[in-house]
Symmetry: C2
Subunit: 122 residues, 2 copies
Amino acid sequence: MTRPSDYKMVVVVRTDLGMSVGKMVAQACHAAVAASEESKRTHTKHWRRWRDTGGRKVALEAESLEELEALARRAEELGIVNVLIEDAGHTEVPPGSVTCLGVGPDQAMRIDLVTGDLPLLK
Amino acid sequence: MTRPSDYKMVVVVRTDLGMSVGKMVAQACHAAVAASEESKRTHTKHWRRWRDTGGRKVALEAESLEELEALARRAEELGIVNVLIEDAGHTEVPPGSVTCLGVGPDQAMRIDLVTGDLPLLK
């Protein structure tokens, strides 16, 4: 059961780009650090609660750029931190490819309004 | 060529635990956020330079707990930020399993003294 006191960050990774595991990990780390930094600055109270309750992070998957952008818009409408990560494109994917999205940290119930229907990254 | 002005963070992920990709991504995100936070606090100048030059992150692999702990000791000896991540163990791995290691951010040349021999995470 998700309680109002539960906090999490979600990182949504695109699976349609054919990235290696190492590439996905590095891109997701960009999203996590960027979303944490932005949340700390703009949603300090939520950020502290998240950190102090274990800093939970969940990796989910999306299959297209359009899906990732729609999730970012939905988060924005709800006032939830969202950070799209563009790869510099030195390896594996074309320059400027959007590889993943960081959402939150925020209350898990709010995050689920954005990413609740997505499958776990396998 | 690595120049003294190059900065990076490395996340070393254990491949011997049989973690799913999603699990590896989430654990690596823990390492990246924790190492960034610690570096910001204790190595502020290096942290700023890293952030302002793109916040480069690289995912490497190790095959055992012993290897990860040896890397952490080596980083410690050199005064480089190092954070071992223990999983709460609700899924996939036994509680308290050390899953990955965040190193830096710091000058890439210094980081390479710790992780220069490790393969990229595939």
